[in-house]
Subunit: 335 residues, 2 copies
DNA sequence: GTCGCCAATGCAATCGTTTGCCATGACATT
DNA sequence: AATGTCATGGCAAACGATTGCATTGGCGAC
């Protein structure tokens, strides 16, 4: 039925051990060139595919990587997963994608299941600023790289966008347009994405010597949470003329609230998002936002993880550059 | 380091074989209740996690499912993958997601890699109307379920939306609005999605006793291909007042072309999409489209596949209902 | 001609489970 | 008391690959 190493060995007239060495490029040198050729030919002829389970059992490596995502349906993540896949595949690895829905218990179960599967490492997009589960795993020497979000203590390798720089660019853009009352619609502060963008906002305002406008905190990075939190911003006195949103979904929620209040964007209020999820350019109005290199985040994270599996090293933090995409949701304030 | 079955057996004072039987609910009856309890307790105390690789090697099952997607970045697929994951996880399976980019050679390699990993089955979103590779696999008794797209001969189980019904609803909607010159912007005809929507369009028009307007064929289900093919439609004489697009991306391409020609939607031309990908409601104009139950497609496909792995059966075809979502891209024709 | 070295390959244990088969002993039956 | 039955649990062989160690034989050195 399925052809095994022994079949190949028999066909080539050698011992299975020898066939194994001939097939593995790393050990091929321990076999004479002629037999190596014979084995390769036999393997090819029979269509031999090594059984990864057997190999993994013996070598204690599964060539499998666990990918933990909050929700694959969030448009931020598919490009990251693609990037990961692009690196993993050619290296002989496969990625097991699972959704945690930000549910701690579920996350714990999934990690356990993947470790039982002997996953060689993890790419994790579900980190919170303090995340005991992840720290435990790192202490247990489980290779792991965080993407997009990281933890407060820098003990875990991570690949994230340079959020501070993105927020700085957003603020600079708004100031250049003439805005003086600039607010922030912040994301959840238990996530580094929410927190560091908030800090960066305060920082950028301080440098510009403008007083920051009021800040509203959304419960989650969702349109609904953004819509709710945005109401505080509209009620502020004086009303801000521009808002830097924690991400695109929050920005869209803010647009909903503006609609609700009969206000216009950008006429009454300029809005900047973050992430540049797809289709933003076709919205009304097309949303100005900070683009992050999603695919590259995935690519770099996968590379870093493979390095880490090869030889454990210190916890690097990789910051990838962002770019402000100016569209029509930002304009000079009404004078 | 890691705790094995033998460790548990030793702790419980029994033979590993006995421990194995005690741990497996299906064989627990062959062990006395007291020893079963002792083994369970020991396993629990030591935090035993069975090694799936070893188990898979012995049982020839990996509890792993290959998921073949053309491109995870296409917003159609993430909800399907989520649905699959929701069923697989609780059943003890994991999904290996890979992107084929519609590249046949790549697809072949990926299938080979996943079979080497002893994948127990496949969920495949990359089917073409004739697809020898898939047929070969089915003949080799590899459990497989197609999603979204299927093949022409019904030899492979599949879960798809009821596209004919969706197109029928679109056409009926346009006719009810008063349109008499209705065209179709068709997708690639080598895919059942493209082909069956095209056939359904002709069929619906025939039933209504209207002459179908000109049909343009896009090379791919992308915005760019839609934009290119749409130019033929605008050049037609008389120009159609409404177009049923093969999917949402083609519809968006059509909107681009309208812009380009200085025409308006829905004033000069009504447009209906297909799939209801996210954010459509926020576009200019919000796009009328046919919603398909993406998550449910994934859920049903996973269920069907697990059934099939349990006991091979005939190739079922599951048609899931669609729903027309009326938004602002359709309106009565200018009189 | 003998010895020793080295390259090439065979041998067998091992990874952690599962499972068919056999051994044991308790109990019932006659 | 001898026999049969049955529940229980031990034994060991798989599953398919990798790898440390042992063996073989060819060749050069003395």
């Amino acid at each position: 039925m399925t052809v095994t190493l022994s079949d190949v060995a028999r066909a080539a007239g050698v011992h299975p051990g020898t066939a194994s060495r001939a097939l593995n490029p790393a050990t091929r040198g321990r076999v004479s060139p002629t037999t190596a050729r014979r084995v390769l030919a036999a393997a090819d002829r029979l269509g031999y595919q090594p059984n990864s389970l057997a190999r993994g059992l013996r070598t204690r490596r599964s060539f499998t990587i666990g990918i933990m995502i909050p929700d694959l349906t969030n448009p931020l993540f598919p490009p990251i997963v693609r990037g990961v896949d692009e690196v993993l595949g050619p290296a002989g690895y496969s990625g097991l994608v699972t959704n945690t829905d930000n549910d701690g218990a579920r996350e714990e179960r999934l990690f356990a299941a993947l470790r039982a599967r002997q996953a060689d490492g993890f790419i994790v997009a579900t980190a919170q600023r303090t995340h005991p589960l992840l720290e435990r795993m790192v202490e247990a020497n489980v290779p792991m790289v965080l993407v997009n979000r990281t933890t407060d203590d820098r003990s875990i390798p991570a690949v994230v966008a340079d959020e501070a720089d993105g927020v700085r660019a957003s603020v600079a853009h708004l100031i250049a347009l003439g805005h003086r009352h600039i607010s922030h619609l912040a994301g959840p502060q238990r996530l580094t994405t929410g927190h560091s963008r908030y800090r960066a906002f305060l920082d950028a305002m301080a440098r510009s010597e403008l007083d920051p406008g009021p800040v509203a905190f959304a419960e989650a990075f969702t349109e609904a949470a953004g819509q709710a939190a945005a109401r505080e911003l509209l009620a502020a006195e004086p009303r801000p003329t521009a808002v830097v949103a924690g991400n695109d979904l929050l920005a869209i929620g803010l647009l909903d609230t503006l609609d609700e209040a009969g206000l216009e964007c950008p006429g009454d209020m300029s809005v900047v998002g973050f992430n540049d999820i797809p289709m933003l350019s076709r919205m009304t109005p097309p949303l100005t936002t900070v683009r992050i290199p999603q695919r590259e985040i995935g690519v770099e994270a996968a590379r870093l993880l493979l390095d880490l599996i090869g030889e454990p090293g210190p916890a690097k933090l990789l910051l990838l550059p962002t770019r402000l995409i100016e569209r029509a949701s930002t304009a000079p304030p009404r004078s």
